[in-house]
């Protein structure tokens, strides 16, 4: 019962091949994975139409990206899909680390109270894609999903992009004002444009398996260095919905991926790990660790997001999460450029801000990979002594690295941000959530009141500035008709009182003020829109 039921999506001949009118789409999205689908939904929420082209007609085969972080879930919540994901997903917060036969230590991500979203959920990529596809159906006028539409060519003009598309019904051309390449690590758009993808490929390979079994393993992340069942290597066990367990087993550099994938070779390895309990293999893959990125993510009218732009080794939950954060950063800017509310140069800030995010993810992933895969006897000695010391010494625990789990990247000090004026949250910080009441609702969350558009958030009794078109909300420590009530005091803990924050559409702080006036807020807004 548990196995995912892959339902092919309906493929219609495109209107261009039925004699329909050739219309220029504002945005063409290449790739209907989590990143392309999230981008389509976010564009639709901004009222921008797009066409999504995918060469396949099913969701991801195999679980692939499974670990979704709090920040990503907050973005998914803004897109209207988080509730389903949390209902279906496995919420977890405890990780255990083992070295050989011993538990070295455990950590609890212990989400502080007062956040709508949990620290992490595990949910197979195929469910994430299914829910996103179903959410796309809420925007039939704006999102045009085309399955089995393979992009075979791409040309840029000064003010647009033309793609050649191959379908089961024939070939056609499609023009758009912008194209987003969300077509994964082997991006055909990147290849067709002749763009590089530079980085480091590690020697080690990992065998990755989805195993269906009934077991009483808790919903925890278990990571082994040199486990007794898999000599000298490392291993991960992590629970997913439907009694599917993700198992990752490190292979030596000389392992033959095709041989290792064969069930007769995989099954004994899994048995050694899970014992005699019955299990079935649901999906097996072998991957090579690599950390790489493009030099730039914006190339004229073609914008790269997700794995097409940057790839990291797993174990930090930084691949899928990094890509969703790309979408969050880009789409409001793209919508503003398309509406002519902002200059095209605003897109350069996507390039800069997400390069910072990608570099942070690559740095952390490369360090984790190096810790997991010592390259010399001395590295191995250091690694094993760190693990040994970690049993008793807190400092060594902090050095143990089985993946530094994804946290949102701060945009502090980057050009769109203005001053912080001594506020507890500096300009560039992602906005933390907090529970609120009032505003016509019995209970609510601060992040649900922010995002989508620019919002001026007043913490306390500051005068509203009354800037044209600017949404303003007030959070106060008392109930009142025109403010949200910080009933548990958590908003004040996180944002302080007596400050006003200009919040970007992606829920990052653009500027903070002690006594905001219309001119200062307008200046910060214009700077965040690159209207300077």
């Amino acid at each position: 019962m548990a196995r995912y039921d892959y339902q092919p999506f309906d493929c219609q001949p495109p209107p261009e091949l039925k004699g329909g009118e050739q219309t220029c789409r504002p945005v063409i999205i290449v790739g209907a994975g989590p990143i392309g689908l999230a981008a389509a939904i976010d564009l639709a929420l901004h009222g921008v139409a797009c066409t999504v082209l995918d060469d396949n007609n099913v969701v991801s085969i195999g679980s692939r990206a499974i670990c979704w972080s709090k920040r990503t879930l907050e973005i998914f919540d803004r897109l209207g899909v988080a509730d389903r994901m949390i209902d279906k997903g496995v919420t977890w917060q405890v990780g255990r680390l083992f070295h050989r036969d011993n538990e070295v230590y455990s950590f609890d991500l212990l989400p502080e109270p007062g956040h709508k979203m949990p620290a992490f959920i595990n949910l197979q990529q195929y469910y994430v894609e299914q829910y996103l596809v179903e959410r796309c159906a809420d925007f039939p006028e704006l999102i045009d999903l085309r399955w089995k539409n393979k992009v075979t060519g791409i040309q840029q003009t000064g003010d647009g992009v033309t793609v050649n598309v191959n379908t089961p019904d024939g070939e056609y051309e499609l023009t758009g004002e912008f194209a987003m390449a969300c077509d994964g690590v082997r991006s055909s758009v990147r290849t067709m444009l002749g763009l590089g993808f530079e980085g480091k490929v590690f020697d080690e390979r990992f065998l990755i398996a989805d195993v269906e079994m009934t077991a009483d393993f808790p919903s925890e992340r278990w990571f082994w260095f040199e486990p007794p069942f898999h000599k000298g290597q490392s291993a991960l066990l992590h629970k997913q919905p439907d009694n599917i367990y993700r198992i990752d087993l490190q292979l030596s550099p000389d392992a033959d991926p095709e041989e290792e994938k064969k069930p007769e070779n995989v099954i004994p390895r899994i048995k050694a790990m899970v014992g005699e309990r019955p299990f079935e293999l649901d999906w097996v893959s072998v991957y090579t660790f690599q950390c790489a990125r493009m030099e730039r993510f914006v190339h004229g009218r073609v914008i790269f997001a997700g794995d097409s732009a940057h790839i990291v080794s797993p174990f930090g939950a930084r691949g899928g999460n990094g890509g969703i954060q790309d979408v969050d950063n880009l789409i409001w800017k793209l919508a503003a450029v398309l509406d002519k509310r902002a200059p095209v140069s605003l897109l350069e800030s996507y390039n800069e801000e997400r390069l910072r995010g990608a570099d942070e993810n690559i740095l952390n992933s490369a360090r984790a990979t190096n810790f997991m895969t010592p390259k010399s006897d001395m590295e191995k000695l250091f690694r094993n002594e760190v693990l040994s010391l970690a049993a008793t010494m807190p400092f060594a625990r902090k050095l143990v690295n089985s993946g530094r789990l994804s946290l949102p990247c701060s945009l502090e000090g980057m050009p769109l941000q203005s001053g912080s004026n001594g506020a507890p949250l500096a300009a560039g910080s992602p906005c933390p959530d907090a529970p609120l009441t009032g505003g016509g609702k019995n209970s609510g969350w601060l992040l649900n009141e922010l995002g989508g558009n620019f919002t001026l958030l007043h913490m306390g009794a500051q005068q509203r500035v009354g800037l044209d078109g600017m949404r303003e909300i007030t959070v106060a420590d008392q109930q009142s008709a025109d403010a949200f009530h910080d009933s548990q005091g958590m908003a004040a803990q996180r944002y302080g009182t007596g400050f006003s924050y200009l919040v970007r559409p992606d829920q990052h702080i653009a500027a903070a003020f002690t006594r905001p006036d219309a001119d200062a807020v307008a200046a910060a807004h214009d700077r965040a829109m690159d209207l300077g």
Binding site: R367, S376, M378, F382, T392, L399, N401, R404
Partner: protein
């Protein structure tokens, strides 16, 4: 263990960067050369720590640990 004891975390967020630098320093060295690097590093760091009581504690903690581990491995 007390938070201010010999094993308390003092590297904080710099831990990962330090570990990366240390591994990079060993890159391309033979085991013998690496052992020399370690010895030199211990001596230089000891001079930086300077406090004889602290150093004695550190030496003892490091040595205890090695001894305990050998006992576990060779019962």
């Amino acid at each position: 263990m007390a938070d201010d004891g010999i094993g308390a975390d003092r590297l904080g967020p710099a831990g990962d960067a330090f570990y990366e630098q240390l591994m990079a320093a060993h890159e391309g060295l033979s085991l013998d050369q690496s052992a020399r690097l370690n010895a030199r590093l211990v001596l230089i760091l000891a001079n930086q720590v300077a406090d004889q009581t602290l150093l004695a504690e550190a030496i003892s903690a490091a040595r205890d640990h090695v001894a305990n581990r050998n006992q576990i491995q060779e019962p």
